[in-house]
Each structure stands twice: as C-alpha cells, then as structure tokens.
Amino acid sequence: MSNFFNKSDLTRQDADKIVSETLNSCDDGELYLEESKSESILLDDNKIKSSNYSSDLGFGFRAISNEVVAYSYSNEISKDSLKNSSENLKSTLKSIKGTYNHEIPKSNKKFYEDINPIEQKTLDSKLEVLNKVNDFLRKKDGSVKQVTASFAGEQKSIEIIRSGGEALTDVRPLIRFNVSVMLEKNGRKETGVYGIGGRQSYDDYLKNDNWKNVCEEAFRIASVNLESKPAPAGEMKVVLGPGWPAILIHEAIGHGLEGDFNRKKTSAFHDLIGEKVASEGVTIVDDGTIDNRRGSLTIDDEGTPTERTVLIENGILKNFMQDRHNARLMNTRSTGSGRRENYRHIVLPRMRNTMMLSGNQTQDEMIKSVDKGIFAVSFGGGQVDITSGKFVFNCTEAYEINNGKIGSPIKGATLIGDGPSILKEVSMVGNDMMLDPGIGTCGKAGQGVPVGVAQPSILIDKMTVGGTKL
C-alpha cells in the first residue's frame, strides 16, 4: 500500500481539509491519488529488444455540480499543487452549487491480492522464459521467420479521499504475457498472436511450462492463416466460437449500454429499457467480481465496490452501466462501473468483464445448420459507432462453412453489423461459455482500461462479411 503523505509537505490532514473545503458546496467529487509501477520486457528478432521500468505518481481532483464536471490533475503531490487544483475547480464551478452526497456503499470482498507482480519474479528468470519461447518456436518449424514475446506487469495503488475525510484504497496487480509469431512459406507471410494474463503473479500463469501452450496457439493460428483463401463478401450466417469472440458483445451492445451515452440520449439503446433487444435465451451481464480476472475490480475508481450487473436478461434490456455522475443525473445508483485509465483522466462508465451466459445448444448443431456462412474463432480489434449502432471487428482466424461442414480457412475479414438488431439475429446459444485468456484493453475517449469478455458459441443468422470474393 502506498503512503501518499510522506512524499512532500502534504499531510493527510491538509488533504482532508482542502478536499472538504473544495467539495462542500458541490454535488460530488473526490481526490484520487495514484502510484503505479510498471515494467515491460520485449524479445524481438532474436534479441531482448527493450526492458523498460516506469513509475508514475500523481493525483486527480474532481468536483461535480449539477451537470458540470471540473477536473484538474498534477504529478506533483504537494500542498501548493493541491491548492492550485482546488482554485481551478472552484473557478469553473463558481456559480453552480450542489449538495454533497456522502453515501458510498461498502464491501469487504476482495477479488485479487495485494501483490507486486514485478518484484515476484526476477528479471533473469523473465529473460530466460522469453529466450526459451524464441528457441522453442524457431526450432519448431523452418517456416518461423519472426518471434516476438513480451512480459508486461504493473502494480497500481490508489486512494480516494472524499469530502468529510472518508478514504478508500485498493492495490491492483496486472500482468500480461504475449507471443507473436510470423511464418513464411512459398512467399506468403502470416502472423499469429496469443496472450494470457490477469490480476495474479506471472508464475500463476506460467506454471507447468504453460508458456509452451501460448507458443503453440500463436503458431497454430499463423499456420491456419498460411492456408487461407480470400474471404467471401456479403450477408451470410456467422457462427462465433466461445471465449474471446465475445468482443462482439462488447462492441455491439456493451458500449451502447454505458450510462453516459444513454443520459445524453446519443446511444441507440437509450429508450429501450424493458424492451426486447435480443433473442430469447440471450442473457448478458457485466461482472467486476470474478477472482483475478483482467476486468475485475475490488472497488471502481470512484470507490464503489463492483458488482455483477445484469444488462440483458432473456432478451429484455434491464440495466445500463453507471458511474456516480451519470447515475445521479439519471436518478439511479452507480453499478461500480466508474473507471479511468489513470489519474490524468476523468472517470467514465466503462465495462469490466462482459459475458453472454450459456444456453443449451452445441457448436456442432450450429455448424450443421449452416448451408453457406463463416465460422469465426478469433478476432483482432473491434470498434463501434454508438449513435448509428454500427460496429465492426476483424477476424484473425475464420473458416468458411459449406453445407454444414467447416471448409478452408479464410483471410482476415472485417465483419460489420448493427448493434441494436444483431442480438435479435442470434438463433442458437451454445452450452460452452468460456472466458477470454485475459488480454483485452478497451478504448474510449482516449482512455484504455483492462477488460474481460466471455461467451458460448453462438449462431448469428445474418451479418455482413467484408471479404473480397463476390
């Protein structure tokens, strides 16, 4: 746990006093203190290309009255600096007064341990794993032309001080291990990427030589792509595999259910609470409470304990994801979804682990039911236009389906769909829900935060596949 009050002339009493005095006449707000330590070690092109360590320390001071948010941050934690920020907030909100809401829910549950993953594994042993990955893949097959492997680890300590002196703290570990391999055969080059991670120590993920499985998976994806043919173009049936393809749910539905877009009525979903937005059998939750998952949080970045929020239940839209600000303006409560990338950024309602729950059909049944379509197993990134509802994502491993059978692999194609209607096109929900391997980062308004996704296999009756073959 970081002590933010032994770094300069700023004492906790000073901070409490400045915070209370600044926020007294506001509706909400807090002082957010953060110290993070992070490392990244990269092996590329047969060499340790970089080893970087960084430490970051700073505060963000927020005051909210009515609909106006004033924010000021600095990486100098001192009495002067905090006072400057306070003046800055007061000048923005000078004519807008509010009544401070002291209420904030409490919980004793923790979803990860207070560890510093960077210190738990020596640099030497990290370098050793990266070199083993490189040797393993290059010896595996002559077609391997490039190997990139990396470790990224972080420990972030935060403290939230609210008006009246209430303080909330959290220590968040996060790691990621990633392997990318490029193969070349008959003049064709293709890459395969795979990674794992979450809020535990490196060795929790690497035990039993698990790095080999990561290598095998990256190699397998690249090999499949070496054989790929041009993807078809046009509307057709799409079977999505379980796990990571749930970024479709994240893009198509998740962003549109974040409180801010709905308060502003710029989301295609803003007037659909209680309405049927998905086929029967489709249930989607956003859960911050799964142990050690990348998207889990003990408390969010406003201090609210996270929860499992039901977004869509059996096809019916139930809830939006809320931070305190949007919840107050929409007359509801925070769902513990207030997040920020770091102290430099304002809080926004964000996803945590977004999951579609299992149904009772099998992947085989789905494939067999398709005359002409594609089977998408893995994706790169996705993106959504909240307002029009259109979303895309890019396949990194996909196959054509002909007459109920999986055929040749197809080249990376973009799939495009319409968020509010896509879940009505879901005609089968599999019994094989799987969590993603712990690699997702969601971007919104220039802020990246770690997230998770999960889903079973699903069959979508109609989606546009953006290939080149007419």
Binding site: E67, S74, S85, T266, S388, F393, I416, T468, L470
Partner: protein
C-alpha cells in the same frame, strides 16, 4: 507557465551526470513539461473543464552494447537517483545487442531554426467558453440536430533531449484544438459526425460558426442511410480518410517493420509500388506545421525526404537502431514521419467525382483492418453513393476491402491538397475495390 529551458536542462544534465558517475558508458534523457486546459460544452452549456500539468522523464542507460530504460513523472532528485540506479542495475543484466548505440555524432542536429511552433497567446477559459457557445449555437440551428458536444483545448509544451555525446536541445510547442461532434435524428435513423481544427497558433483556428455549421451539415446529410449490395465499385475517399492510406504506407516503410521482415514493402526500394503519377513527401520544416520538428526523438537532424518518386519507393523511415541493422544511416525518422503528404494530382475534385457514372464516396471508416504484413485491407465504412458526379443517398453498414499492393497502384489523386494536419492527402479515387453489403 510551462517550465523553461533552464529548469529542464538542469534536470537532464543531473540525470546524464549521475548515470555516467554510476558507470554507464552512455546515456540519453528526455525531460518534458506540458500544461493543457480543456473546456467541454454540451447542448450549449458548460459540461466540463479539465486542467492537466504533467512532467515526464525518460532515461536510457548503456553499458557498452547493453541498454535499458526507465520513465517517470516524479522529478524529485531523490526519486530520479533511485530510478537511475534501478535502470543501470537492469542494464547490467540485459543481454548485449550489437546494434544498440547512441546516434552517430555527425548526424545530430547542429543548429535549430525557428519553425514558429509556439504561440504564447493565453486563451483564457472564459474565451474558450465564448468560442464554444458560438460554435454550438451554429451547430444546433437545424432542429434535426438533437445533441452537440464540443471542446476547446489549449496545450503548451516544452522539452529537452540530452545525451552523453553532448547533445542538449529542445524547444517549446503549442497547440490549439477546437472540435465539435453533432448528432442528428430523423424518423429512420440517428447519425453522428464531427469537424475539428487543430493548429499551432490560435489565430489559425477555424471560425467557431464555420466549424459548427460544417459539423451539423455533414451529420444531417448522413440521415436515412441505405445499405447497398456487394459489388466491385470505384471508391472515392474523402480527404479525412485518404490521409489514412499514407499512415498505413508509413508504418509499412518504418525501418523496424523492414528489419523485422514484417512489411509487405520489404525489399521494394527502387521498385514501383504506386502508380507512376504518385509522389509522397515527408517535410519536417514546414512553418507552423503540426508535424514539424527540428530533430527526431534521438536528436538526429531531419531533412525533407522524397519517399515515393513517380510511383517508385525511394526511402524507408530510418532510426539509429534499425538503421544499423539494415546498414542504413538514420534519416531522422525515429518517432516516425513529420509532415507527410501526397503531392496533388492533376484532376479537379469535380472531374474525379464524374470520372465514373457510379462510385462510392467514403467519409468514415471504422475498425483496425490494415494488415501491414500482408497488405490486406478490410474496414467498415459509411459514405454516399455518387451518380454522375452527384451525391445520391447516404450509405452505411458496408465494408470495403482490397490489398494495399493493388490499391496503391490504382490511386488517382485530385488537385485539392491542403496542409491542415500532420498527414495530408488530396481527395483520392481507387478503382476496383470490393464492397460487401447486402
């Protein structure tokens, strides 16, 4: 006030001296300070204000051919000392890499000329508020506009780059950015579009009313879109999209992608990669240019580079490390391109629009569909169907796909190049791409 050169220089020299004292054979350091103030408006009222004040430090230490780096935002001498110790300890156990080194001394920038990248004008928040009020007033004048969000950001930065070969220089830059996002609604659809203006100097920022009007007009035009069928069709890329082709091209010719063998343009120097009417230039010394620089992120002097001459690839973007790997001298592009642009073509915008009886005009793409290894390109798109040079109706929920290798050879550029951003392109037409729709 943004910290002055003297303060940053003293921190930089402290770091270099300390690293040398600990036994580092070489070291380089960047110290920067940036102050940024943003005001956000929504539906004609103040929504948020945001002030940021950030110091940043990054240090690389070398022990012969071993190298590692650290970065931090905490510039207290005590913290810097701890970090440099940690950095140097890491350096000692990091394996050697024969290509690690500071840039060649004779390539370092000798004298820096003023490119007029800093405007000291202070645009107080009250003035930002006035600007945004005017902007949103004009943006919301049509009743189909149901939401407006706009912001004005003022940024002032200063930095010093120093290394143990005696390089120590830096300069102030400023930027002013006004932007507006509007949402329009009719009985069939809800659509969003935007407009922004980003400049080094306040006086060059677009008029608030022009910006608001343009955003609103563009948004309303998108209402009630249709989906079209899958077909091969000529595609016209609006300027805001055509410049993205240059960004994809730039990542494919970075020395790092070339050295790693992960680019579809590897080993293509002196070969035809674009149609022979195409010239691509990267010019670092444009006065007030958004991408202008006196030297790159390693201190290496950067000159104007002709990347494509009559369609032929002439240069990669080379930094010190990857240059040594490829046996090339750095051309001052560590950190990428500066002001990158296509030279204008010789056909007017109107003639380009009329070139085919039917074409698709793209105003926005979504998704990360550029594969630099294979050249494959596939993105979601919105735009308009054009018939006989006229916009017929808006189109959405389609994808466009092709391969850069073919697309680059089929580019036709209009003569409407303007220098608005750090990457600039005229309106572009590419024939023979695939649209996937219904």
């Amino acid at each position: 006030m943004v910290k002055d050169q003297e303060f940053l220089k003293s921190k930089a020299s402290y770091c270099i001296d300390l690293a040398k004292k600990m036994g580092a054979t070489d070291a380089s350091v960047t110290v920067g300070h940036s102050i940024s103030e943003t005001v956000n408006f929504r539906n004609k009222s103040l929504e948020a204000s945001d002030r940021s004040d950030g110091l940043a430090l990054s240090i690389e230490t070398y022990l012969g051919k071993k190298r590692s780096s650290i970065s931090s935002s905490n510039l207290l001498d005590k913290n810097i000392k701890t970090l440099i110790e940690k950095c140097f300890e890491t350096t000692k156990i990091t394996p050697e890499d024969e290509f690690n080194s500071l840039p060649d001394k004779n390539l370092l920038a000798k004298q820096i000329s003023s490119l007029n990248l800093y405007d000291k004008t202070r645009f107080e928040n009250d003035k930002k508020i006035k600007y945004l009020k005017d902007l949103e007033e004009s943006a919301s004048s049509d009743n189909q506009i149901i939401n407006t969000e706009s912001s004005f950001t003022e940024n002032k930065s200063n930095f010093i780059l120093a290394n143990s070969d005696g390089f120590c220089d830096g300069y102030k830059t400023s930027s002013f950015v006004a932007s507006c996002v509007t949402v329009a609604k009719d009985e069939n659809s809800m659509e969003r579009d935007y407009e922004f203006s980003s400049k080094r100097h306040l006086s060059d920022i677009k008029q608030a009313t022009d910006l608001g009007n343009k955003a609103a007009k563009q948004t309303i035009k998108k209402l009630s879109p249709k989906k079209i069928g899958s077909e091969k069709i000529s595609i016209i890329f609006d300027k805001r999209i055509s410049k993205g082709m240059l960004s994809a091209f730039a990542s494919a010719i970075s020395a790092s992608a070339i050295a790693r063998g992960t680019s579809f343009l590897k080993d293509k120097i002196d070969e035809q990669v674009f149609s022979n009417s195409i010239n691509v230039i990267d010019k670092p010394d444009i006065i007030k240019g958004m991408g202008s620089q006196n030297f790159d992120s390693e201190g290496v002097n950067s000159n104007t580079l002709q990347l494509i001459e009559d369609g032929i690839l002439k240069n990669y973007l080379v930094d010190t490390y990857n240059g040594k790997k490829l046996n090339l001298k750095s051309n001052g592009r560590s950190g990428g391109t500066t002001n990158l642009y296509f030279e204008k073509g010789n056909i007017s915008y109107q003639d380009l629009m009329k070139k085919n009886s039917r074409s698709l005009y793209i105003t926005e793409t979504i998704g990360h569909g550029s594969n630099i290894v294979t050249g494959d390109y596939s993105v979601g798109a919105t735009g308009f169907l054009v018939e006989d040079g006229e916009f017929k109706y808006p189109v959405n929920e389609i994808t466009i796909a092709g391969n850069f290798k073919d697309m680059f050879k089929n580019i036709i550029l209009a003569n409407d190049l303007e220098f608005e951003y750090s990457v600039n392109s005229p309106t572009m037409m590419i024939e023979g791409m695939t649209v996937a729709g219904k």
